[in-house]
């Protein structure tokens, strides 16, 4: 058995395989099908200061090798999370990471302050990349000043490990990555979904209620790998890779490109056991290549 543990800032994960926010609920939904304690981490659904109903139906459409979604951060708010969900999941033997979203900087700060005292929350992931909300979300993540303003405000409000989740919908993702690093991010995760659109040609209407939505699934993987590779070279904090990872082989693409850990997102919808299978695959891969630790693979791409 090779050593699979990796470090994200001060946070040690038992292995590099995590689940992406908004694709795994609070973990409990999957408990019949996998042992949650085997995961490196669970990034729970995007949490906001106040409850949100999200966008109207329809919110999803299947696309070639992927899907578009326009959920719009439906969640019951941070108070509900702290009072009802946290007590149920805090004893899991995996890193519980809370994805934090908001419409204003004050919203982000309020959620961070509420989470700061919870010792079983291993980290927060600041989401400045949601493409499906009218205010906040991705608008903060598409400029260096926007990213910096949110990240530096959250840095003051949260003492633990802070991951910043980046959007790919920018001209140069490395600029935003550097801005987030300078503002105090301990790690970066990328990519969130790509802004996309699909049309019902017979009815001549958009497939989504919001017209545009976020594209995910293996169709985005090559672009996400490229962005992770660029960002990993541009910053000196850990990068967490995501975007269309379906299995252990895909996860290793991101790790070789420079990611310290990975997140499985849309894959959870197709195969709820994909994460657990990938952990086994990565372990076998290390054995097969005569390596002791997954850390030897991070950024090990030969060019």
């Amino acid at each position: 058995m090779a050593n699979l543990s990796v470090n994200i800032g001060n946070l040690q994960l038992k292995n590099p395989v995590m689940t992406a926010s908004g694709t795994f609920g609070y973990g409990e939904e999957f408990a019949d099908l996998i042992d949650l304690n085997q995961l490196g981490g669970i990034i729970v659904k995007g949490t906001t200061r106040m409850p949100r109903q999200g966008n109207p139906y329809p919110r999803m459409v299947e696309t070639p090798s992927g899907m578009l979604n326009a959920v719009g951060l439906q969640n019951k708010g941070v108070d509900y999370f702290v009072e009802h969900i946290y007590p149920r999941i805090c004893d899991l033997d995996t890193a519980i990471i809370v994805n934090v979203s908001g419409s204003t900087i004050d919203d982000y700060v309020a959620v961070c302050e509420r989470l700061n005292p919870l010792d079983k929350v291993a980290a927060v992931e600041i989401n400045i990349s949601c493409p499906n909300v009218k205010q906040g979300g991705m608008t903060f993540g598409t400029t260096c000043t926007g990213a910096q303003s949110v990240v530096s405000a959250c840095r003051k409000a949260y003492d633990g490990t802070m991951i910043v989740k980046l959007t790919p919908n920018v001209t140069d993702v490395t600029e935003i990555a550097r801005a987030a690093q300078e503002a105090g991010a301990d790690a970066l995760s990328l990519t969130n979904t790509f802004l996309g659109m699909a049309i019902d040609v017979e009815r001549q209407v958009p497939c989504l209620s919001t017209i545009t939505g976020g594209l995910s699934g293996p169709c985005i993987r090559p672009i996400a790998v490229r962005m992770v590779w660029q960002v990993a070279k541009a910053v000196n904090i850990p990068v967490i890779g995501l975007g269309g990872i379906m299995n252990g082989r895909d996860a290793l693409e991101f790790i070789l490109a420079g990611a310290t850990a990975v997140q499985f997102g849309t894959a959870n919808f197709v195969d709820p056991q994909a994460t657990i299978k990938a952990i086994g695959y990565i372990n076998d891969y290390l054995d097969r290549h005569g390596l002791d630790s997954v850390n030897q693979l991070i950024g090990a791409l030969k060019t």
Partner: protein
């Protein structure tokens, strides 16, 4: 009905083509027993070998034969994924997650009418079986475009009285299901309905006007089928947007904010 979810590999034991657009798939798990399923629950089926589809297909559980360890799925050829399922050969392997969601209420008092249209008749077969087993005699009202589109009529007839409507009048009462006198005869206490959305809305409106308790089974577009993606939401009077996959797919019409 909080029965545990499973992901199992199945083998297609028998396929019956029904008309041009439907296939009845009889499947058996490769290992172990078929998990207990409730009428109205559904399965998420991975389409094997499909290059053009990606997500699982949510399919109603049509019927189970526990003694034969068989699961029946009735599939309508709607798009590429369901077409691939209809075209499978006997002996094919399928990966299926089940049982999912909450099914129909099993009423013991008062006459229960099971109203189905098109492929929506699927879950009513299992519901009829369970009702009959518990000693409640169900009645069925089944609608189709034409006589050739009526599905599984022989099986329904074994379970209870069957009323039929067809759009073209080739069998039963001419017209849509809401034209059938059984719906307005005053003898029905509960309705369980599954079919196209316009049909379910029309049945729900008629039920509400007459004060008949009514449940409908929704088929909102979904990705995960287990409450994680939050895509299949339906607006409810008591809780706002809820997932059809976990809170439903069966809802009492009083929970829904349908303008009927």
């Amino acid at each position: 009905m909080e029965n545990k979810k499973h992901i199992l590999d199945f083998t297609l034991k028998q396929k019956l083509l029904l008309g041009d657009n439907y296939a009845l798939l009889k499947l058996s798990p490769n290992k172990g027993e078929l998990p207990p399923c409730e009428p109205g629950q559904f399965a998420q089926v991975l389409v094997p070998g499909s290059k053009n589809t990606f997500l699982r297909r949510p399919i109603s559980i049509c019927y189970t034969e526990p003694n034969e360890n068989l699961l029946w799925l009735l599939v309508r050829r709607a798009g590429e994924g369901t077409a691939a399922l209809c075209d499978l050969c006997e002996g094919s392997k399928l990966n299926i997650m089940l049982p999912l969601g909450h099914g129909f209420t099993l009423h013991r008092d008062g006459t229960m009418l099971l109203v189905g249209g098109g492929v929506g008749v699927a879950p009513l077969l299992m519901l009829g079986k369970v009702l009959k087993e518990q000693g409640t005699q169900p009645q069925f009202l089944l609608g189709a475009r034409s006589k050739g589109d009526l599905l599984l009529i022989d099986k329904f007839t074994e379970l209870g009285e069957v009323h039929i409507t067809t759009d073209d009048g080739s069998a039963g009462v001419h017209g849509v299901v809401t034209k059938h006198p059984v719906l307005t005869g005053g003898n029905i206490a509960h309705i369980a309905c599954c079919g196209p959305m316009p049909m379910m809305r029309a049945v729900a409106a008629l039920a509400r006007r007459q004060g008949i308790d009514c449940e409908v089974s929704l088929e909102n577009l979904m990705a995960c089928g287990m409450g994680a993606c939050l895509c299949c939401v339906e607006d409810t009077a008591d809780a706002g947007n809820v997932c059809v996959c976990t809170e439903g797919p069966v809802f009492n019409i009083n929970r829904l904010k349908w303008q009927i």
